[in-house]
């Protein structure tokens, strides 16, 4: 298929009726790939009432936006989403199709690739184009980040993968960028669904879900009790961050499972990860060692968490965390600043 190479596609993600920022991160990856291939970059948006919200995708790097705007797509329904995407892919034949490794992306793609009989690589942290073969080079961690593998999909199209959120910054938006918006109708047969969406129960946690957070204040068993653990919530609130936890802290019910970081919890990639009273077991490191900057507070100088720390403080978290809280008295930083 050397001459008629298709476009690079990204799957935009719609949450609460708006384009979510992970969609822009994907476009930053996609832009690099499309430029290396000399092809166009397209973003696919499925949803209801989204047709007039696609500008941000073009501003963040898309040349083309395919929109399927139908009431049936208001919530994620696996069968309808899949049928609509299969139809689009068969019509336009993209070379590469990438989605975010969110709960939606990690459900949409493993269903879609079965129908398309192609390869799918999970949770990539790096993407590139091989200069010789022009194939997509997909880099992903496995076995708790202890192994990194480079994977290719040589013979089938599209080359598909999910990409770990926050593995790349969005490009700076350019309001003057122009692109083509192609609005497609979903075929009735494609939109029919056996799934019924009943309700959504929003979690009352401090800050964003940890996968989306730029700053995570995480605690482990070393925080000793739930009252001390609440100190971390206070610090997170003031820094505009979210609270994470080790498995021990989750098992002790100091934090919900959705806050668990590690092998059997979430993989997170914040700018700053503050680990308080966490020993740094390999299973925990598996979920956080890709953070940009790690700050660790632990009484044990030999705690393995110090091996991955940029700033380590050997000391009592119950003394140090309050000092950190005092650094921003009225609540400060990005989120806190707005609240003032």
């Amino acid at each position: 298929m050397p001459n008629s190479r298709g476009d690079v596609w990204t799957l935009a993600e719609v949450r609460d009726g708006a384009i979510h920022s992970v969609s822009w991160e994907l476009l930053a990856w996609g832009r690099k790939l499309a430029d290396k291939l000399g092809s166009r970059l397209a973003s696919v948006v499925l949803g209801s009432g989204v047709a007039d919200k696609t500008d941000s995708l073009i501003h963040h790097g898309a040349d083309v936006v395919y929109v399927v705007d139908e009431p049936e797509l208001a919530t994620y329904r696996p069968d309808a989403y899949n049928a609509v995407l299969v139809s689009l892919v068969k019509e336009y034949k993209p070379e590469i199709f990438i989605a975010s490794a969110t709960t939606t992306g990690r459900t949409v793609m493993p269903v879609l690739y079965v129908d398309l009989e192609t390869g799918l690589t999970a949770d990539c942290t790096g993407l590139d184009i091989d200069p010789e073969t022009k194939l997509l080079l997909q880099t992903r961690p496995a076995i708790g980040g202890n192994v990194m593998a480079d994977i290719r999909t040589p013979n089938t199209r599209p080359q598909m993968c999910t990409v770990r959120p926050r593995s790349k910054r969005p490009l700076a938006p350019d309001a003057n960028r122009r692109g083509e918006v192609i609005v497609k109708r979903g075929a009735a047969a494609d939109l029919a669904s056996i799934y019924q969406f009943l309700s959504f129960d929003r979690e009352k946690a401090v800050g964003l879900p940890i996968q989306d957070a730029e700053i995570i204040v995480a605690g482990g068993k070393g925080m000793k009790n739930p009252k001390n653990f609440a100190l971390l919530e206070e610090l997170a609130r003031r820094l505009g961050g979210s609270v994470g936890a080790s498995r021990q802290a989750v098992d002790l019910s100091w934090a919900p499972y959705s806050a668990q970081v590690g092998l059997s919890g979430k993989s997170v990639t914040p700018k700053i990860y503050i680990a308080c009273g966490i020993s740094g077991a390999v299973q925990h490191l598996a979920g956080m060692s890709a953070a940009d900057t790690v700050i660790a507070i632990n009484t044990d100088p030999d705690a393995p968490i110090f091996r991955v720390a940029d700033i380590g403080i050997i000391g009592n978290a119950m003394e140090i965390v309050p000092k950190l809280i005092d650094m921003c008295p009225g609540g400060c930083g990005r989120k806190g600043g707005e609240a003032r």
Binding site: V111, S258, F306, R307, G312, G333, G337
Partner: protein, 271 residues
């Protein structure tokens, strides 16, 4: 309720050690175990059996040693097991694995509910569950955190997604990939272990599944691993002792947070 559980045998993660000098994983002599996240799939099936009655079939694809993982699931309360194993399956990626597993599930019987784990702790793709569900034409649910009801051929359940939990419903048969928060797995009882020992675990090989060779194993896998690296996860950061230099440590953190815009300049002036 006719239920199946897909389980995988993985290297035991608590035994993973990191070589202090090279910062890489030591793989020699690492024992195998049932994928810890699959324990929750087994447990949920057993709980539903206790509530609604029925039978649970455990299915695993892997080397003959994976029989041990199947036996431990039977010891937790499952009824029968199948091992899908053949040299021809070697090198399967998630697509070939899912195709093979789906064929194995069909061979093992008809099911209303099929359970899988969120992901395996070795490959960590989380792709096999939904893909098997797609091959089987079942309703597919990922990140299932609670089964609310199974009634009149319809399942209502909760999914743990970013920012909260959604409640959704679909007809049976359904494939559920469950997350850890759904339950706390039970320990095997002695009686369960005895029963497991008496339970025969039939083998399903490539010939019995009737999949063309071209779709099996390495040859049937669209993705190819071209390189494996062992990254070093050591950072050599600056370590402070709070006892010796309490303010220096906090000051360093403060500067870092301010650099990242997490703390505003004005605040530092006020200090």
């Amino acid at each position: 309720m006719r239920m199946a559980v897909l389980i995988k045998q993985v290297p035991a993660t608590e035994n993973i050690k990191i070589d202090e000098k090279t910062g890489t994983m030591i793989r020699e002599g690492v024992e195998a175990e049932l994928n810890p996240l699959d324990l929750h799939a087994v447990e949920e099936a057993v709980r539903l059996k206790e509530r609604l009655g029925g039978e649970i079939t455990v299915i695993s694809m892997g080397p003959p040693a994976a029989r041990r993982a199947i036996a431990s699931a039977i010891a937790m309360g499952c009824d029968r097991g199948f091992l899908i194993s053949d040299r021809k399956f070697a090198g399967s990626d998630t697509l070939a694995t899912s195709l093979t597993l789906a064929a194995g599930v069909r061979k093992a019987g008809e099911f209303d509910l099929i359970f899988a784990g969120e992901r395996a702790t070795d490959g960590e793709t989380g792709q096999v569950g939904p893909a098997v569900g797609r091959y089987l034409g079942a309703s597919v649910f990922t990140y299932v955190s609670k089964v609310a009801s199974v009634e009149g051929g319809r399942i209502v359940l909760e999914r743990a997604v970013e920012g909260g939990h959604e409640t959704v419903a679909a007809p049976l048969p359904a494939l559920l990939c469950v997350v850890k928060e759904i339950n706390t797995p039970r320990l095997c009882t002695l009686a369960g272990k005895m029963r497991a020992r008496r339970t025969e675990i039939p083998l399903l090989d490539a010939a019995s599944l009737g999949i063309p060779d071209a779709k099996l194993g390495l040859g049937g896998s669209p993705t190819k691993v071209v390189r494996v690296m062992y990254p070093q996860i050591t950072r050599n950061g600056k370590i402070f002792s709070a006892a010796d230099d309490p303010d220096g440590a906090v000051r360093a953190v403060f500067d870092l947070l301010r650099e990242h815009g997490a703390i505003e300049e004005a605040t530092s002036d006020a200090e």
